[in-house]
C-alpha cells in the first residue's frame, strides 16, 4: 500500500545531493568561503528550527542558546581537555541536547510564552558563560581561541555534510510516520493522543533533535571561526535570522528553509556589499515587506496554486 522508503525519501535525497554538489563546487566559482559557510550555517539553523516550529508549532526565539552551547562545548573541550576536534564536535550536540532536556518543561507553555521563555533561557546561558566569575571554566568575557585546530577547508566540508544530514532529517520529518505524527499533534494534540501518538514524548524528541542540529551547527561554526567571544555565538541575531529565513521560505516543508535561508542570506549580503550605508534600512524594509505581502513564505506562491511542495 505505502510507497517504499526510497520513493518517499527520493525528493529528500535529490535535494541533499543538489545541496552537496552546489556547496562543494561553489568555492570554485565564488571563493568567499566564509559567506558560503555562513549560508550553510543558516540553512542548517533554519531547517533545525523548522523541525520544531514547522512540525510542532513551537517557535524557539532562544534557538541561538543551543547553537552557542554547541559552539562552547566544542571550543572548551579543545581548549581545556585538548580533545581531538572530531570528538569535541560530537560533544556539541550532546551538550545542547542536555540543555534542551533541562529546558524541557518550557514545552508546557504555549505560543508567545514558550518563545519568550526560551529567549530568556538563551540569555541566561549567555550571561552564565560570559560571566567573569567562570573565567577559569568558560573563558568568561575573554572568549575562546582554538586556532590550533583552525581548518577552514575541513570545517567547510563538515558543514556540507551537516547540510546533507539536516536535509535528510527534515525529509524524515516530512515523509515518515514520525513526522506525520508530529503534524497530527500540531493539528490537534488531544486527537493525536487518541491516535496512540505519545504526544509528550514525541514533542520532546522533536525538541531534542532540533537542539542537536543547532548544537552541531554551533560546534562546526566554532571550529570554522576558532577565535570568538561569547556574544558571537549567543547573539539574538542568530535566532532572528534563522526564524526570518525559515518563515520566508515556508515552514513545514523541506525546501522552504533551504530556499529561505539561501535566498535571503544571499540578498542580505548583496545589500551589505553593494549598499553598505543603507544596509540596515533596506534589510528592515525588506523584512517588513515580506511579512506583509508573503506572510506564508515564498513557497506559498506555489502552494496557493495547489502545487504540493516537498
Amino acid at each position: 500500500m505505502r510507497e517504499s522508503w526510497f520513493k518517499r525519501a527520493r525528493a529528500g535525497l535529490i535535494t541533499a545531493a543538489v545541496l552537496a554538489l552546489v556547496f562543494s563546487l561553489a568555492p570554485n566559482v565564488y571563493n568567499n568561503s566564509s559567506l558560503l559557510f555562513m549560508m550553510m550555517t543558516y540553512i542548517v539553523l533554519s531547517q533545525g528550527l523548522n523541525l520544531l516550529y514547522g512540525f510542532t508549532g513551537y517557535l524557539p526565539f532562544g534557538y541561538v542558546g543551543f547553537f552557542g552551547t554547541g559552539a562552547y562545548a566544542t571550543a572548551l573541550l579543545v581548549m581545556k581537555l585538548h580533545l581531538p576536534i572530531g570528538l569535541a564536535i560530537a560533544a556539541g550536540p550532546i551538550a545542547s541536547m542536555i540543555v534542551a532536556l533541562v529546558l524541557g518543561p518550557l514545552l508546557r507553555l504555549s505560543g508567545a510564552y514558550f518563545s519568550i521563555a526560551n529567549l530568556a533561557a538563551s540569555q541566561i546561558l549567555f550571561i552564565v558563560i560570559g560571566n567573569p566569575n567562570l573565567q577559569d571554566i568558560t573563558g568568561g568575557p575573554y572568549g575562546v581561541k582554538i586556532d590550533e585546530v583552525y581548518n577552514p577547508t575541513a570545517s567547510y566540508a563538515a558543514m556540507v555534510v551537516l547540510v546533507v544530514v539536516v536535509t535528510l532529517i527534515a525529509t524524515f520529518f516530512r515523509r515518515s510516520r514520525f513526522g506525520q505524527g508530529l503534524k497530527a499533534m500540531a493539528d490537534d494534540p488531544v486527537s493525536a493522543e487518541m491516535s496512540a501518538i505519545p504526544v509528550v514524548r514525541m514533542r520532546l524528541l522533536a525538541w531534542l533533535t532540533s537542539a542537536a542540529v543547532a548544537g552541531l551547527a554551533g560546534a562546526l561554526y566554532a571550529w570554522n571561526l576558532s577565535v570568538f567571544y561569547p556574544d558571537a555565538v549567543f547573539t539574538l541575531e542568530i535566532s532572528v535570522f534563522a526564524i526570518v529565513f525559515a518563515l520566508f521560505g515556508g515552514v513545514g516543508t523541506v525546501l522552504g528553509p533551504i530556499i529561505g535561508a539561501g535566498l535571503l542570506y544571499a540578498l542580505y549580503n548583496a545589500i551589505g556589499i553593494s549598499e553598505p550605508q543603507y544596509f540596515q534600512l533596506i534589510y528592515g524594509v525588506l523584512i517588513v515587506g515580506l511579512v506583509m505581502f508573503l506572510p506564508e513564505g515564498i513557497l506559498s506562491l506555489l502552494t496557493r496554486r495547489g502545487i504540493n511542495v516537498f
Binding site: 560571566n131 576558532s226 556574544d231 558571537a232 547573539t235
Partner: protein, 414 residues
C-alpha cells in the same frame, strides 16, 4: 566541455593570484586597494566610525599628493578604500572580511575597531596569508604566538594599558582602591593587569566588582563602593558605561578623592557633551592624542598639525584618539609600502617590524613585537583640572616624561 573550461579558468585565476602574490615590478596596479569594515550600527558604531574616518582622512591626503609611494614599483599609486558595514556583528564581519580578501582582492586589510570585530579576522588573515593591519584590536589573547599576518599598529595591547595607572597610584601611595569593570575582554584584561600589579606591592582592592557589559545603572553600585571608602575608584568600561558612571557619580552627590575612567581621555569632547564638564572635573583618564601632544614625530604629522589638518577637512571639528588611530594605521601602511622592496604581504610585515622602535607618530612611539602586539604608545595618566573660565584642562600627571602639571589629590569636594 564546460566543466573543463571552468577548471581551466579556475586554474588560471589561481595562477594569476600566485603571480600577484609574488609580484615583482612587472605590473604595477593602477590603485592600491585597502579593505576595511566599519559598524554602521550596534555596540561599536561610535568608535568604529571614528576609526574609519581617520583612515579615510589619511587616504584623502595621500591621494591629494598623487597617491602612496610604492617602492616595489618605484612610483606613486592612488589608494582606494573598499569598506563594508558589519553592523557590529561578528558573523557579518567574518563574511565581509572574506569578501574583501577573496572577491575585492584588496592589497591590505585593516580590521574594524576593537578586539571583538578584529577577532574573527585573525584566522582568516592567516588562512589567506594576508597581513591584518589592526589599529585597535588590542586583546592580549591575539598576540600569544609569532605570526607574519597581524600587526597592532595604533594602540597598545589592553593588558599594558593600565601599567602607568598602577605605577601612578603606587607613587601617590594610594592603597585603598575600588575597581568596577565591565565583563568583556577589553575591560577585564585591564582589571586583571591592575590587580596583578597591585598584588606585587601588596595591595588588594577594597571593592572589586565586575558588572555586565551592558550595565547602565551605577547609582547603587557607587553607593556600595562608597561604603568601602576607597581612596581611588577606578571604573573600566566602554564609552556608554563611562558616560553612565560619571553621570551617576555626579547626580548621586557622592564624592571620591580619586576617580578614573577610560574614555574621557580619548573622547573628551563627546564626554563633555554627554556628562558635562562638571562631572569630569578632577577625574583621571588615559589622555590620548590629540590631548597629549607628540611634537617630535618622524612619520606623518605631529599632533598639532594633525589637529589643524583635521579641523580643515571636518568643519573645524577636533579629532579624537580613534580618528588619530585610523590615520596612524594609514601612514604606517604607507611607510611599509614605501620601504618594502617587494609589494607582498610578508614584505610589508617585515617593513612594519623593521620600523619598530625607530618611529614616532601622532599616537606616539611605535614598537611592534614579533607576535604583532603593540608595545609602544603607552598611555599616560592625566587629570581634568577645572580652569577659572569653567573649562577643563587636561594635565598630564604621569609619567614624568610627559608631565605637564601636578595631580590635585584628593580632589576637592563639591
Amino acid at each position: 566541455m564546460k566543466l573543463k573550461q571552468f577548471r581551466l579558468a579556475v586554474a588560471m585565476a589561481a595562477a594569476a593570484l600566485t603571480a600577484a602574490g609574488a609580484a615583482s615590478a612587472a605590473s604595477a596596479p593602477s590603485v592600491i586597494k585597502i579593505g576595511t569594515l566599519y559598524a554602521g550600527s550596534g555596540n561599536f558604531a561610535v568608535a568604529s566610525q571614528a576609526q574609519y574616518k581617520g583612515l579615510q582622512f589619511w587616504a584623502k591626503r595621500v591621494n591629494a599628493e598623487g597617491g602612496v609611494y610604492v617602492k616595489a614599483f618605484n612610483k606613486k599609486i592612488p589608494v582606494k578604500i573598499v569598506a563594508y558595514d558589519d553592523q557590529s556583528s561578528t558573523s557579518t564581519a567574518t563574511t565581509l572580511y572574506n569578501q574583501l580578501i577573496t572577491q575585492d582582492k584588496v592589497d591590505l586589510v585593516v580590521s574594524d575597531f576593537g578586539s571583538v570585530l578584529t577577532s574573527v579576522a585573525i584566522p582568516l588573515a592567516k588562512e589567506h596569508k594576508m597581513l591584518l593591519i589592526d589599529p585597535t584590536g588590542s586583546s592580549a589573547g591575539f598576540f600569544k604566538e609569532k605570526t607574519d599576518y597581524l600587526a597592532d599598529v595604533s594602540i597598545p595591547s589592553s593588558a599594558v594599558w593600565p601599567m602607568p595607572l598602577a605605577k601612578f597610584l603606587e607613587q601617590e601611595h594610594i592603597k585603598k582602591i575600588g575597581i568596577i569593570y565591565g565583563s568583556n575582554d577589553f575591560d577585564g584584561s585591564q582589571a586583571d593587569t591592575l590587580k596583578a600589579e597591585f598584588k606585587k606591592i601588596g595591595v588588594t582592592p577594597v571593592f572589586d566588582h565586575a558588572v555586565p557589559t551592558g550595565e547602565r545603572n551605577y547609582t547603587v553600585l557607587l553607593h556600595s563602593a562608597a561604603a568601602a571608602h576607597p581612596q581611588a575608584l577606578i571604573e573600566l568600561g566602554y564609552l556608554p558605561n563611562d558616560v553612565a558612571f560619571l553621570k551617576s557619580l555626579k547626580s548621586s552627590g557622592l564624592h571620591f578623592p580619586f576617580v578614573f575612567t577610560i574614555f574621557p581621555g580619548q573622547f573628551k569632547q563627546l564626554m563633555e557633551k554627554n556628562v558635562g564638564a562638571d562631572a569630569l572635573k578632577y577625574t583621571y583618564s588615559y589622555p590620548a592624542p590629540p590631548m597629549i601632544k607628540y611634537e617630535k614625530v618622524n612619520l606623518g604629522m605631529n599632533t598639532d598639525q594633525f589637529v589643524t589638518a583635521w579641523g580643515k577637512t571636518h568643519k573645524g571639528a577636533e579629532p579624537n584618539f580613534v580618528n588619530a588611530g585610523g590615520y596612524n594605521a594609514g601612514i604606517l601602511m604607507a611607510k611599509a609600502m614605501g620601504t618594502s622592496p617587494k609589494f607582498t604581504q610578508l614584505g610589508m610585515h617585515q617593513a612594519l617590524l623593521d620600523m619598530s622602535g625607530k618611529i614616532t607618530t601622532v599616537v606616539g612611539a611605535y614598537k611592534l613585537s614579533p607576535t604583532g602586539a603593540q608595545l609602544g604608545q603607552r598611555l599616560p595618566i592625566a587629570q581634568f583640572q577645572p580652569q577659572k573660565d569653567g573649562s577643563l584642562k587636561t594635565v598630564v600627571v604621569y609619567p614624568d616624561s610627559h608631565k605637564t602639571g601636578n595631580a590635585i589629590y584628593p580632589s576637592p569636594a563639591g
